[in-house]
């Protein structure tokens, strides 16, 4: 899949709370095909403290309007600078990067937590386009940390799990009533302990499982070799060979 480096214009911005915002970015020309689970490397403008691009998941794609949306969690200098941008400003992207979700399975469960919810919206839409209606389970410490909720409604059955019980069932996603062995394929993206718990369960039950990793990276295209995961086949670049991996290839990582 060909990669591009190009300027987009910010045509939409939504601030969910102090931690989360989204930017909708428009390109003058038609976008290439973007697989669910792929990401962009965003150049952070106007901040001399931030040199490297920031890897951010593609949350949504609107082919008719040449737009893609990124959902961003404010975690440091780079994402804080991005949070201050406004409509009309330009943003330079290298995209679409990485290896996305397979879209396989008929009874699918999507498990997301925190910023890991981001790629699951585009995944829900892609599964929906294949005629598959997934079960979508979203978790966070509290309701405010599950920034996107309603957007998922048209595409599947939704459940929420919060540790304080402020939304949905109280507890972790892996304790939710919808989290069961009634699926043939589980897709997960979120905090590492959550993904490991989900993957461990899937492997035990013999359910196909794909996890989307988020490692620190520099280039995003497989050149610097900084973002590696300790896979069963040795170090693999999360940016190029991932970010989505089949859990069967990460049994070492799951155990760590």
């Amino acid at each position: 899949m060909r990669k591009y480096i190009t300027d987009f214009t910010i045509v939409g911005k939504q601030v969910y709370n102090e931690s989360y915002f989204s930017l909708t970015l428009q390109h003058p020309d038609r976008l290439p095909e973007i697989a669910a689970g792929q990401f962009v490397e965003v150049e952070v403008p106007d901040n001399k403290q931030v040199m490297l691009r920031r890897p951010i998941s593609i949350h949504d794609v609107d082919i008719d309007n040449n737009t893609l949306t990124i959902l961003v969690q404010v975690v440091g200098k780079g994402t804080r600078t991005l949070s201050k941008l406004s409509e009309g400003q330009k943003l330079n992207l290298v995209y679409p990067l990485g290896h996305g979700f397979s879209l396989e399975g008929t009874h699918t469960l999507l498990v997301g937590g925190g910023a890991g919810i981001a790629p699951l919206l585009h995944l829900s839409k892609c599964l929906s386009a294949k005629g598959i209606r997934p079960t979508i389970l979203l978790g966070g410490r509290t309701a405010a940390l599950i920034p996107v909720q309603k957007e998922f409604e048209p595409y599947g059955t939704i459940g929420f799990a919060t540790e304080d019980g402020s939304l949905g069932e109280k507890g972790l996603v892996t304790q939710h009533s919808l989290f069961s062995a009634d699926y043939d394929h589980i897709y997960t993206c979120g905090p590492t302990p959550m993904m490991k718990a989900v993957a461990r369960y899937a492997l035990e039950k013999g359910i196909e499982c794909e996890v989307s990793l988020e490692n620190m990276m520099a280039c995003g295209i497989g050149a610097c070799l900084c973002c590696v995961v300790d896979s069963d086949e040795g170090h693999k670049c999360v940016c190029k060979e991932g970010p989505v991996f089949n859990a069967k290839k990460l049994t070492n990582w799951i155990k760590q």
Binding site: C224, V228, G234
Partner: protein, 299 residues
């Protein structure tokens, strides 16, 4: 206008890519015309396949980054059997960075690369700060540097470039030692040994604690060292360290480098090398320079 020479190599222009920042070139084929480059120094290659260091391997620092990849690579046999055939027909100088933990390993790798028709040179890496054995150990002592270069020189017959570390008291002393041992060219600088600590987590950012600093932060150090070495040796010098623009490249050329390598900047803008080449052409036109060599070493 931009053509330059490093020993027996003719470069279309002085802009090459630095080892470890450009993969095997293929990773950048979507963004640039690889054939426009003066040369590509491919990923550091060792006698056996290496997994490199554990994650995390990088940290962003002011105007730079630390890395501790630790020479993860497929090994020389896989390079020769597989990678070489994918890249050998590129119309540029493909140079293999040869790394190792022992003189025997350097020699084994160099001898195998010597057999490859379309690899006109190697860059002997005696300066990697991220491996426990060898690497920078050879490059910080003039006698050891001379020894490894003279052994490789016996079995390697094409252009031999030696990559130097800045982590020494006198880079000139090391440069003179490798020149005396038969190097055809020196490239400098490799990364500066550095360290960064995450104060919230109260632990180093890198799994290896220390790593190599690169990016614009190191450029003035690199320009200084290139200038010192260019005045002290008679073999061509290749300059690198923090180049992100044509103006940066020109600083190295004026300081005495016959060619430059672009490294960390490739991570930020995968098309940056093309902008640098265009910028050099533009500079020559603006200053009515017919031959880039006219400004090399003018300082």
């Amino acid at each position: 206008m931009l053509q330059t020479k490093i020993h027996n190599l003719t470069l279309k222009n002085p802009v090459m890519t630095a080892s470890g920042t450009f993969g095997y070139g293929e990773e950048f084929a979507d963004f640039i015309d690889l054939n426009r480059l003066g040369g590509i120094i491919v990923k550091g290659t060792t006698g056996e396949r290496r997994q490199g260091n554990p994650y995390p391997r990088m940290a962003e620092t002011p105007s730079g980054m630390l890395n501790a990849v630790g020479l993860q690579n497929v090994g020389v046999e896989t390079f020769c059997k597989e990678v070489y055939h994918r890249i050998k027909d590129l119309d540029t100088n493909i140079i293999v960075n040869v790394s190792g933990s022992s003189i025997e390993e350097y020699c084994k790798t160099a001898a195998m690369i010597d057999e490859l028709d379309n690899i006109p040179a190697i860059e002997l890496n005696i300066s990697c700060p991220n491996v426990k054995k060898g690497g920078m150990g050879f490059g910080t002592n003039p006698d050891m540097a001379a020894q490894v270069v003279s052994e490789v020189r016996k079995i390697y017959h094409k252009t031999l470039i030696v990559k130097l570390t800045p982590n020494v008291t006198s880079v000139v002393e090391i440069a003179k030692a490798v020149e005396g041992a038969g190097a055809d060219s020196v490239s400098l600088i490799n990364t500066l040994l550095g360290m960064a600590i995450d104060v919230e987590k109260q632990r180093p950012y890198l799994s290896t604690i220390t790593g190599g600093l690169s990016g614009p932060a190191v450029k003035p150090v690199a320009v200084r060292m290139v200038w010192q070495v260019a005045h002290a040796v008679s073999i061509p010098v290749i300059g690198l360290g923090g180049i992100t623009s044509a103006a940066d490249a020109l600083e190295f050329l004026m300081a005495g480098a016959k060619a430059v390598q672009v490294g960390t900047a490739n991570f930020i803008d995968p098309a940056v090398t093309m902008k640098i080449i265009d910028g050099l052409e533009d500079y020559c036109k603006r200053h009515r320079i017919n031959d880039i060599n006219d400004i090399i070493g003018i300082i």
